[in-house]
């Protein structure tokens, strides 16, 4: 709950969900029907960086607020969480199941249980997630999480204006922008353009070492909703026909391709 302090200032509990994706320079290869992650360097999902940055900005504005990071991933995600703590998170919860979540539903389920467990009596005031992970681009986890927690939510926001009374957000739709009003608590998935994330400083990195990373072990009792049954490399090479001048190109596009 938003706590109204005597000074009139407001403190918020903010949860940020983070995940890891291969960095953009990684070469993705398929081995035995799965992506060979041994050759991949994993980093924080770029969209999650915007979510984290927004949470830290809110914390700076509403003194006394606490930003808690949630991540359902193997222990190797600890390095990424340390970086997120250096970027302004206060504490982190690394969720590990008896088995790794294998679809968005199981991931959302683990996150919802972890969030419920950490905020025993109520939900956090705000939950922020990246719009989607850049590897699968499913954009399912944030909204599934909202549904599981039964919390108001808006996806892919590009502007967030929080006050003690409520939250105004903007989201991009095809050809325009939608303006929405919400009350606390609320969940948002964030789009690029919301903010420009800061860089870590050496001082922040050192301070982050003292911040707590809690390990939370949860049992996944529900089966996944979806399974990946096959995976293979996709080669999308085309035979490019080089043309020397603009007129020839126009002729080909209009006559041979009938595009206009």
């Amino acid at each position: 709950m938003v706590v109204q302090w005597l000074s009139g200032e407001t403190a918020m509990d903010i949860a940020v969900c983070l995940c890891q994706v291969p960095d953009t320079a990684s070469v993705i290869s398929v081995l035995d029907g799965a992506v060979d992650l041994s050759r991949v360097h994993e980093v924080m999902n770029p969209f999650d960086e915007y979510a984290l940055e927004e949470a830290v900005r809110l914390k700076e504005r509403f003194e006394g607020s606490v930003v808690t990071l949630f991540c359902a991933a193997p222990p190797s995600a600890k390095e990424m969480l340390r970086k997120a703590l250096a970027l302004g998170g206060d504490r982190a919860v690394l969720i590990s199941g008896t088995e790794e979540p294998s679809d968005p539903f199981q991931t959302a389920l683990l996150l919802s249980r972890a969030i419920s467990a950490c905020y025993a009596t109520a939900l956090p005031d705000l939950i922020l997630c990246g719009k989607h992970s850049t590897d699968f681009q499913s954009a399912q986890v944030p909204l599934m999480l909202a549904e599981l927690l039964d919390i108001a939510s808006v996806s892919a926001i590009i502007k967030l204006n929080a006050s003690t009374e409520g939250i105004q957000v903007e989201r991009e739709i095809e050809g325009g922008i939608e303006l929405l009003d919400l009350h606390y608590p609320a969940l948002f998935s964030v789009e690029k353009g919301l903010n420009v994330p800061r860089k870590t400083t050496i001082k922040a990195v050192i301070e982050a070492r003292k911040k707590p990373i809690e390990h939370l072990s949860l049992t996944l009792s529900e089966s996944p909703f979806v399974a990946i049954t096959a995976m293979k490399p996709l080669i999308r090479k085309k035979q490019c026909r080089f043309v020397s001048d603009a007129k020839e190109l126009i002729r080909l596009l209009s006559h041979e391709e009938a595009l206009f």
Partner: protein, 344 residues
Amino acid sequence: MKRLFSELRGKRGGNKAMKRFLVFLEQREGVVKQASIDTWNRVQELATLRPDITVTGLLAGPADLLQLEGRMAGTGVLYLASEARFSIYNPERYQRLITDIMKREACSDLFFADTVLSRDLAPRLSVRLQASLLSGCSIVEDIASEGSCTRALYSGSVIASFAPRRPLRIYTTSSRPTHPIIPSEAYISLVRLEPPGFIEAAFLPVVRGLVMRESGSDVAEAGIIVAGGRGMGSAEDFEQLEELARLLGGVVGASRPVVDEGWRPHAEQIGQTGKTVAPALYVACAISGAPQHLAGIGSARKVVAINSDPHAPIFDVADYGIVGDVHLVLPKLIEGLQEFLKKR
């Protein structure tokens, strides 16, 4: 070919052994989305593979129905929830409307076009209906037999097949322009829905307003895109692309560096951290073709690349290429098109 378009009132009888597919049709300001019509037509194609599939449609919000005439293939019932309260997307209201029809019609499979709306709505429905959600499906033919579908992952470097594990299934299908062959016996009945009986609690969030861009067009829906990369040089240089897009009846797109430079808005960004597009024609000007950019244009039908570097990776995915400086090639292209259009 003229197609029968009738309006029925009341409920039709049903055969329990049939497999029922529900297609959700989306409108904005009364205009039914082309992507939704494409999805309807793709699902109708699927239904021709299996005689036991029936297709039902659901159109939420008031819309001009005459525009659908001759654009929707196949047979089936199209339910119209034409009340004003469905005119703007509200997740809670839409969820209740859809779950209501899914139950009433005993539908097993629900289809959406892959749009901003369905990316918000489908995951919520997946949890509420305990249904498998397969999103962004590009190859859908296996849905009729096994329920599985295929799409690209990891910036288009991997293709994966997804299989549902729940008895109810939701699919969002990526756009692919359809040219339906509408047989003369094609017959779609329109049924106005009785107002669903759910209580209107204070459904949050509340939409305060909608601000549409002047053109109202979006790269995600455009049939022709003229996109520029950092090699364009400056924000001003995009005027040439705007002119070219105008002549072609398309819209302007941009690569990430261009948006990061502030030359173009993020709404126009195409690629991994931007939009995924599926135009009939994609003209890439001074775009080198980084994997993150190519991730967004995998569904473009024809790609034209203009770049001064003959080894730029964009040429590997292009159908036509011109090696040269965009600042020299573009004026010629614009001039040539103006002449071409004048002659026609």
